[in-house]
Amino acid sequence: MSNPGSLNIAAASLDAVKDRIDGGPRGPRPRKRISRRNIFIYGTLLVVAIYYLVPLYVMLVTSLKGMPEIRLGNIFSPPVEITFQPWVKAWAEACTGLNCDGLSRGFWNSVRITIPSVVLSIAVASVNGYALANWRFRGADVFFTILIFGAFIPYQVMLYPIVIILREMGLYGSLWGLVLVHTIFGMPILTLLFRNYFTSLPEELFKAARVDGAGFWSIYFRIMLPMSLPIFVVAMILQVTGIWNDFLFGVIYTKPDTYPMTVQLNNIVNSVQGVKEYNVNMAATLLTGVVPLVIYFISGKLFVRGIAAGAVKG
């Protein structure tokens, strides 16, 4: 922290993991361009890359074929005749139970769940992490330890008590109930993330602000927040993908009307009635995956930072 006045400080003190990843390779340097060693390395990586890419490719081509073509051809061949009909059907017409308005309902439910969940969980966890980092009070560590331990406990042991609590609050089955659940289960990892980040900021800055007469909230909003944009972005990526991809909480704490996209997708694809329309299924699957995929490809390194920070303890 020799240079805390610098604006880079916020970016520089992000967790060590991504710095290491960005720090450049450390392995032995290859000697020649084309050597047996290089062929082996690139060959292996290429084969593995193909394995990783195949499902995405299969999803895409299947969703663009008509059913007759799927029955005749093989799943890896590109579509002869491109049709967007499966996409339209998946979005607007596919049936789950009695509703036949497609995945769009689930999509909008997911949006309505994700946005407040992300905002609420980040707001709560960042303030909490800030309190833990800068305003330590007696007993805080005990609660924090329980919280972190809670991140590893199987959710299954808490599912039913939460049902009871939500029912008592009158929120069981509603979107807001699910928002609350996401806020609760997002808390351990986010609190850890924010606590570690705020701890890494120079303490003297906090002290200076206190001498300057700023209080708890004033320091949080005026000093800490402006320096912490990167970590908020990381937390946002972490939460948007996590909540969008959730299935278990969605299926338990909402009703069919308010099912998030993943639950609805599973109901469409795995419904036993009717003829299987594989192209529609794949279009629906791809539609559900699009949001996190777009976030992943746009955010790039920040996504890596997010999961690495979440996984390795900051």
Partner: protein
């Protein structure tokens, strides 16, 4: 009138006692330096005075007001930090005005204070810049300015120059001293750099292990260290310590080491010289005189051998062996010595310090 009074202040984190029943009175307008090695509790004490740490026991008074449990902002202090601690997202002006805005001062008042402070510190052209665009020296000036605009009674400095390079450090040192002369505020200054302490302080409090070892004017600390720790900590190159015994000799006392007997005539005792089987004679290198011939200046001298010569520019440090003990002597650099040379050593006893080896207290 005392500006800052610390009464029996203790602070412990669990089983670790950082401060132990510490008492300290800082006079109005005084420049007091807290000096000590890292971990001695000097920064902790400063943080307690600022109200950034809660004390475990004891009380703190600023201007005769008990502020032990008051918020930092209500104590009438300004603080300057080692890492400057400027708010990176605000301009210099924003940094200076942040505290004033928190006090809800009227805009004109804020303007006037910033004008005055930036004039004093010559940072007027920087007001619209962000901290990242400033050099280290400029940043520290702004940090001082932030304390200045608060118009407080007491300034607290927490190692403010440690992050600067040597040249800037000496420049800003002079500037801080000037600032003190101009403002006449009370300043409490924490450092581990003894040069800073000796040059800046009206009084120095040397700390170790959460306890103040000695509180005195710089030259008293330098010349008459109260105990072995202070003697060894202050002064560079460090003080020589000869191990031996204090014995009676004639009508006075003498220090006996390795068969030599050094008369203690002219020694200025703190208490009184008493016989001691285990004692240490502390002599600063500049008070060790070496000559080619015995009795060159009429003093009693002892033969010794030169081990090593360290030229330091204006003078040189010559390491010599006296019996089985090693000493350093400071000589003009024009005088050259070589390994193996035989020299004659005599000591400036009035400037020396005698310690009991057990209690480590100066006699």
């Amino acid at each position: 009138m005392e500006s800052v009074s610390i009464r029996d202040v203790s602070l412990s984190f669990g089983a670790v006692h950082v401060l132990e029943k510490l008492n300290l009175d800082v006079r109005e307008g005084e420049f007091l330096v807290l000096l000590g090695p890292s971990g001695c509790g000097k920064s902790t004490l400063l943080n307690c005075i600022a109200g950034l740490l809660d004390v475990s026991d004891g009380q703190i008074f600023i201007k005769d007001r008990n502020v032990t449990w008051e918020q930092p902002k209500d104590r009438g202090i300004g603080m300057v930090f080692q890492s400057y601690a400027l708010y990176p997202q605000m301009t210099v002006e924003g940094n200076l005005s942040f505290g004033l805005k928190n006090q809800r001062l009227p805009g004109d008042d804020i303007r006037a204070r910033i004008d005055r402070a930036s004039k004093i510190l010559q940072i007027e052209p920087l007001l619209n810049r962000k901290p990242a665009q400033l050099s280290g020296g400029q940043r520290q000036r702004v940090a001082i300015g932030r304390a200045l605009v608060r118009d407080v009674d007491v300034f607290l400095f927490d190692e403010p120059l440690s992050n600067l390079d040597a040249k800037l450090r000496s420049e800003l040192r002079v500037e801080i001293k000037r600032l003190h002369q101009k403002l006449d505020n009370t300043m409490i200054y924490v450092t581990h750099d003894q040069i800073e302490a000796l040059t800046l302080a009206d009084r120095i409090a040397v700390m170790k292990g959460g306890v103040i070892q000695q509180l005195d004017e710089p030259l008293t600390i330098y010349n008459r260290p109260r105990n072995l720790f202070v003697a060894g900590f202050i002064g560079s190159p460090a003080m020589n310590f000869l191990a031996g015994a204090v014995v009676k000799s004639g009508h006075g006392h003498a220090f006996r080491a390795g068969g030599h007997e050094i008369a203690l005539d002219g020694y200025e005792p703190d208490t009184a010289i008493v016989e001691a089987p285990d004692a240490l004679l502390g002599v600063r290198p500049e008070h060790v005189e070496i000559n080619r011939e015995a009795g060159a200046n009429g003093a009693v001298s002892f033969p010794a051998t030169v081990d090593l010569e360290e030229p330091m520019g204006a003078d040189s440090l010559v390491w010599i062996s006296l019996g089985d003990q090693t000493l350093s002597a400071r000589v003009e650099s024009s005088r050259r010595f070589r390994r193996g040379d035989t020299v004659h050593v005599c000591f400036n006893i009035p400037m020396a310090s005698l310690f009991d080896a057990k209690s480590e207290i100066r006699m």
